[in-house]
Amino acid sequence: MESKSYNPFNMAQAQFDKVAEMLDLEAGVRDLLREPMREYHFTIPVRMDDGAVRVFKGFRVQHNDARGPAKGGIRFHPLETIDMVRALSMWMTWKCSVVDIPLGGGKGGVVCDPHHLSAREQEQICRGWVRQIARNVGPVQDVPAPDVMTNSQHMLWMLDEYETIHNGRFPGFITGKPVGMGGSLGRTEATGYGLIYTLREALKEHEVDISRTSASVQGFGNVAQHAIRLYDHLGGKVVAIACWDQSDKTSYTFRKKGGIDLKELLDITDKFGGIDKNKARDSGYEVLPGDAWLEQEVDILIPAALENQINRDNAGKINPRVRFIAEGANGPTTPEADEVIKKNGIFVIPDFLANAGGVTCSYFEQVQCNMNYFWEKQDVLDKLDSKMTSAFSAVSELAKRKKLYMRDAAYVIAIDRVAQAVKARSWV
């Protein structure tokens, strides 16, 4: 469309080009990898509740499946966003590659707004999507997952339709299913734990005793809570947590210099993930302005809330003691802040890698489904641990060897692996 406007796909390609340059990839490989290999665009006619028929547009982009079946979410969104989807499918390829799971990258969706659709209509859309694309997706071809405005119910409808068409039970076709219907145990903890596994490895590599470290966390949602739990368990001390207060519409940082008590805080947390500040105060926590988490005198910062939280305005306020940042959120650090962080020599575990616990667990779900055998939670977490650990070592080792910034090293490893795969198959 408009040529100069922000185009996420161009941005993704530019990112790739930079790394391809670093890797000195051949032209053929670059050409292959900077475009999605397959794109499907189709129409889904649905009879609405009032009898009228509406035709929805659906699509699926498979960026690259050299390393394994494509993996990526399905989103419902009302505006045509094919560039965004292309970009996301590409990022999925790199993400699966960096954590070294045998999957490629893909993304798809339907142009619709579930807020304006009844449950029955949404079901029709899900099934319709599968009917259109059933030939080209499957447990050994392309494995979808939930994404923006889709959830486990949609996944179940899609699975059901797929199984009807292909006449069998193929739970490995799609992930994000509820436990008991093919979902994997450990899913809720996966991202948070994964984050701490990488952090643990990072500390080990730097010969820092985790039990003598302190951390400051931004966010108190699912990822943060589990991360804190594991970090605590390993001996670390979380000193401050920043979270959002729903009634005051602002965020606060809750600090206890001796270390917060997770259980105590969970007891006074509402379902929005907000900590009751009066009760916290009564329990001896200091209530500071929301940004204070960043300025704490700790060793580790864990942004696990929203994007762009560490930016050019506040990057300078990071306490000199901070040596590690483990990005639990997606894109919490802006490029400008990155410069400041790099200058200060802080070791960053990039989001790309650090929060890959989720997609890894997704892969485990797929594996268990394909075997039709489901592991105990501890098994899942143990396997997650070993996967994240080895992924981290690979990246870290490359960064050290080639003197790269961790974020760049992660991309390099990811793209390189894919490049190797396409070459191994003699596609190029």
């Binding site: 922000y6 807020h115 923006v148 486990s152 509820p178 729903q246 519409k249 305005d313």
Partner: protein, 1062 residues
């Protein structure tokens, strides 16, 4: 029995006797058969015949005694040898038959008579009795035949039968109907009647018989006979001039009416006391039962009278009510009214609405059984004029002046008035009535609601202005009674409170006489642990003013429901959300993803604590964990959230202790007829009332209860505004025609406009996110609720930033209106979000939403205004100057010469307009009183802000060494409540003495403000200012509160001072 082998001569003897008896019988029959012969003759003949049947006929004599008359031979003498039998006419003993021998006879059997003879005499006596009776009947038949023949001669008119009957049985009634007949004839122009009236009319009227009691004086009787005569003549005239049918109908009507004349007379007379009316109605019920015994016109007239008497005089109400209410509907009502002697009976608006609604529903055709189960909780009423009686009883009439006093004065007086009322007495009739009511209620919790006369006027929303009080109603009767009296006194006092008086003054209703009826209603619910509450409750609207999807139509309606008491659905509460469903399209939900559902499900529940006798708000989760299974219908109320997936619980087992349970009402919505029922109710009531309605309902898990019904005159903030048609184009900012709700926003001073085209052309992700961030900052800085946000569709999108401005609710929560602009891209217009990402937040705080489709025909979108106006963004937020191309902040008064922007929305027309106009007057008074269109609670921070600005403006910088003044805390965040402090931050750089002087100066302010706050809100505090001072060093080191200055989030808000510090 005779032995078989008897000698032949004995047999002959027996046979001979038998023959004699038979003969006798035949002869007796012959005599009796003589119909023409009068009875004496029969008897005489009999006594001669009867002896022949006996053994010794020549010495046998007979005698018949009938009704003291004796029929016998002259020489008859009763002897020792006699027999007798009774003569009976039917069962009545009228005489006897006697037979005796004149001489001694040989004994036989056990006497002197053969067994057969004894039977014979009885038989004859019976026959005589039957004959006498037979004759009597014949006589009657003959008489009747004669009478009928006579009538037949008079051409056999049915109505004559009636008049004859009446004439014989009820003379009073006869006179009454004859009087009516003569008037009727007169009105119909019958000449004879006119003459007749002339002749006898005077007598007629003069001697009109009293309907109530019998006068037995002779003179009266005499003229009565004359009147009867006259009446007979009347009917002859009637017979000659009117048709039979006509007369018959008239008679029937008058006779029926006469039966209930007492009722009509009582009701119609305006001055009749309520007790008399109630008695009359109950009498009528006893007489008429369920049958309708009135002529239709009478019945209608009666109905209207009752409606006028109890409910309302307004013609609109009567028109509606008379179509749906019947006289029998009042029967139950009158037994539950409490009143004082001399009360006129009006019950007030709330009661009227509920009763009318109930009866409309009862009369609906009900194929699906949806209306059958609807209940109304037991309710007792106190008449509206009881409050006047209360005042009179306690010599408090001058309280009525309150409404004309100053608002401040009213506020000061109000707590005293409450105490005064609580210590006053009710008349004994009221107390007795309430005692009866309490007996009826038992010890269930009750609610005392106001039902004022002014509430029934269409177009006024008195909701919340008068009090409603919950009473736990536990304990000994005396205690409950005094609690109830207390509550009623408090509700009465609320009539004289500042809020209603101010509201009435604004609506121009101050001079109208306001009286307050009371509705005492049983609270719907069950007991769970120490709490009492309904399984769920809420409010339902015919029209949905807050549509979250373009697929919803206004007529689809809206239900707001909550667990527990409906107070949390009726009022808007902060930080909690009701569950919203549209009955017309229940499949279209507000929240679709599990996280949204979780986020917006109710967290708190209102209950009555029966042990502490208090109304409490408790956490839903705590309640579920403690009492899970005991809560009625809990399986249909909650859903289970697990691993990002929400499912309905299996009916069997729910893990209350550790499961993550959410209140979603999923079971109720999808598995019961609740939605269909509410929809049917709303439709039926809308048709019945002729206008949209809203209803309050509750359920105890088993039954559905209707609690209240009123016309949906809508809240003040969503009333349709008339759309002015004559605004010139250059003063119009935009018009819109699609998906409009209601309301008006009259005083916008700033517009924040995101240029849709430029936004789409932005080059980098950073810039796009900056737009979102800048808006968040503007939200904190611009005057609350006086700016609007306009931009390309889908505000609040997460994910793809190009699809919409990336903000969260907290970045936009101070705006007055959120406007999404849909501009065509190529061939299609992108779908707007309707605010769905934070819909419930918008709804609860009253932020309006308007979708604009500038490419539509017939709508105005003044793009030139946007592109051509000066952008204030670089001035306010210099750090975002680089996106000034895309994001514009326009100062409207500055640009339009003092005018401000007004936005009016009219949902009924489906139109909305934003145009520039002079600001509305009364800017100062809004400081004192809350603005009518504001959401609740706005006035507190506004006033505090104003005061803070005053202080800053007046502080002498050089005298006190003040460099800058900032506002922080709840006033800066616009979350101040009535008891909040004003948090001020002073940047000082003077000496210690200057600092102390400043403190003293501020203390004076603080105490004065505290007093003013008390006058405004009734909250007392010791000083309203919370002062912090920081020095240059603090700022440098960013210690303590200095950190708030120029903070990124929640910054201190600078206030302008008179002179800049040197």
């Amino acid at each position: 029995m005779e032995p078989k082998n008897l000698p032949i001569d004995q047999v002959l003897v027996v046979l001979r006797e038998r023959a004699k008896e038979l003969n006798c019988l035949y002869q007796v029959e012959e005599v009796l058969a003589g119909e023409e012969v009068p009875l004496p003759g029969i008897f005489n003949a009999l006594i001669r015949t009867i002896p022949s049947g006996w053994q010794y006929p020549d010495i046998c004599r007979a005698r018949i005694v009938y009704r003291d008359q004796s029929y016998q031979d002259e020489d008859y003498v009763p002897t020792a040898w006699r027999d007798s039998a009774e003569i009976r006419e039917e069962d009545e003993l009228v005489g006897s038959l006697e037979v005796s021998y004149t001489r001694e006879v040989p004994g036989v059997d056990d006497g002197f008579f053969l067994l057969k003879e004894r039977k014979l005499i009885k038989t004859i006596a019976d026959r005589i009795g039957q004959t006498i009776f037979h004759r009597k009947l014949k006589r009657l038949l003959h008489e009747w035949e004669t009478a009928s023949r006579d009538l037949a001669e008079k051409k056999n008119r049915e109505w004559m039968v009636i008049t004859e009957l009446v004439r014989r049985t009820d003379e009073k009634l006869y006179l009454h109907i004859s009087r009516k007949m003569i008037y009727y004839l007169f009105w119909n122009g019958v000449g004879e009647a006119r003459q007749f009236l002339g002749k006898f009319g005077g007598e007629f009227v003069k001697n009109e018989p009293e309907p109530e009691f019998d006068a037995n004086s002779p003179s009266f009787k005499q003229s009565r006979e004359k009147l009867i005569e006259i009446s007979d003549q009347v009917f002859s005239i009637a017979a000659r001039n009117l048709s039979d049918n006509e007369i018959l109908q008239c008679l029937q009507k008058w006779i029926h009416e006469n039966k209930i004349s007492f009722l009509i007379k009582t009701i119609d007379s305006g001055g009749t006391a309520l007790s008399a009316i109630i008695d009359a109605i109950l009498r009528y019920r006893a007489i008429a039962g369920d049958r309708m015994v009135l002529a239709p016109s009478t019945e209608k007239w009666l109905r209207v009278s009752l409606i006028r008497r109890f409910f309302s005089d307004t013609i609109e109400f009567i028109n509606i009510a008379k179509r749906h209410l019947e006289v029998s509907d009042f029967f139950d009502l009158v037994t539950r009214i409490i009143f004082h002697a001399g009360s006129n009976g009006k019950l007030g608006g709330k009661s009227s609405g509920l009763l009318l609604a109930r009866h409309i529903l009862l009369k609906q055709p009900d194929e699906e059984g949806l209306f059958a189960g609807i209940k109304v909780p037991r309710t007792w009423y106190i008449t509206a004029d009881s409050i006047s009686e209360f005042l009179r009883h306690n010599d408090l009439e001058d309280i009525n002046e309150q409404k004309y006093k100053d608002p401040e004065q009213v506020r000061i007086d109000y707590p005293n008035i409450i105490q005064l009322f609580k210590n006053s007495h009710f008349s004994s009739e009221i107390v007795k009535g309430l005692s009866m009511a309490l007996d009826d209620f038992g010890d269930k919790p009750i609610i005392v609601r106001s039902s004022s006369l002014l509430e029934d006027r269409v177009g006024t929303a008195f909701s919340g202005k008068y009090k409603s009080l919950f009473l736990a109603n536990q304990g000994p009767k005396q205690k409950r009674l005094s609690a109830l009296l207390d509550a009623i006194a408090e509700v009465y006092a609320s009539v004289f409170g500042p809020d209603p008086i101010i509201y009435r003054a604004e609506q121009g209703l101050l001079d109208l006489h306001e009286e307050m009826g009371i509705m005492i209603q049983e609270v719907v619910g069950t007991r769970v642990g120490p709490y009492f509450f309904p399984a769920f409750a809420g409010i339902a609207f015919s029209n949905n003013e807050f549509r979250w999807s373009p697929r919803l139509r206004r007529e689809d309606g809206l239900i707001r429901m909550v667990p527990g008491m409906g107070t949390r659905a009726v009022d808007r509460v902060s930080n909690d959300y009701p569950v919203l469903v549209s009955p017309g399209q229940p499949a279209l939900r507000v929240n679709v993803s599990p996280d949204e559902i979780r986020h917006y499900s109710p967290s708190w529940i209102d209950v009555i604590n029966l042990e502490t006798n208090c109304f409490e708000t408790i956490s839903v989760i705590d309640l579920l964990r403690t009492y899970g299974e005991e809560i009625p219908a809990v399986h249909q109320i909650v859903s289970i959230y697990r691993d990002g997936h929400i499912s309905r619980p299996s009916g069997f087992d729910i893990d209350f202790k550790s499961g993550d349970l959410l209140v979603t009402f999923e079971g109720i919505i999808t598995r019961t007829t609740f939605i269909r029922r509410v929809r049917s109710i709303l439709t039926a009531l809308e048709n019945g009332f002729g206008m949209p309605v809203d209803i309050e309902f509750a359920s105890d898990g088993v039954d559905f209860y209707l609690l209240q019904c009123r016309p949906q005159n809508t809240g003040e903030d969503s009333a349709p505004s008339p759309i002015p048609r004559d605004i010139p184009e250059d003063r119009t900012l935009f018009t819109a025609r699609r998906y409009i709700s209601g309301g008006r926003v009259p005083d916008i001073t700033h517009v924040v406009w995101v240029n849709p085209r430029k936004y789409g052309e932005m080059e980098s992700l950073e810039m796009l996110t900056d737009v979102g961030r800048a808006i968040g900052r503007l939200n904190a800085v611009l005057p609350k609720r006086q700016f609007i946000l306009m931009g390309p569709g889908r505000w609040g999108s997460r994910g793809d930033i190009k699809l919409g401005v990336q903000v969260s609710y907290s970045d936009i929560n101070n705006t007055a209106v959120l406007i999404e602009i849909s501009m065509k891209r190529g061939t299609y217009s992108p779908e707007l979000s309707f605010g769905t990402h934070f819909f419930q937040d918008l709804a609860e705080t009253g932020i309006r939403y308007i979708p604009l489709y500038p490419d539509d025909r017939d709508v105005v979108y003044n793009e030139l205004f946007f592109t051509g106006s000066r952008n204030m963004l670089p001035d306010i937020l210099p750090e975002y100057a680089h996106i000034a191309d895309t994001l514009k902040v326009i100062d409207i008064p500055g640009r339009m010469g003092g005018k401000i922007l007004k936005i009016l929305l009219n949902a009924e027309l489906g139109e909305s307009i934003g145009y520039f106009d002079e600001p509305e007057a009364a800017a100062e008074s809004s400081i004192v009183r809350p603005r009518p269109h504001e959401a609740h609670g706005e006035e507190y921070w506004r006033w505090r802000l104003h005061m803070a600005e005053q202080i800053a403006g007046q502080v002498d910088a050089s005298r006190f060494g003040v460099r800058a003044v900032y506002l922080i805390g709840s006033t800066a965040n616009a979350t101040a409540g009535p008891d909040s402090d004003i948090d001020l931050l002073f940047h000082v750089d003077g000496t210690r003495e200057q600092r102390e002087a400043l403190s003293v100066w501020l203390e004076g302010w603080s105490l004065s403000l505290s007093e003013m706050n008390y006058l405004r809100t009734g909250y007392r505090s010791h000083g309203l200012l919370d002062v912090h001072m920081v020095t240059d060093r603090d700022i440098e080191n960013r210690t303590s509160f200095a950190v708030k200055i120029n903070a990124v989030t929640d910054p201190a808000r600078p206030l302008s001072m008179k002179r800049p510090a040197s």
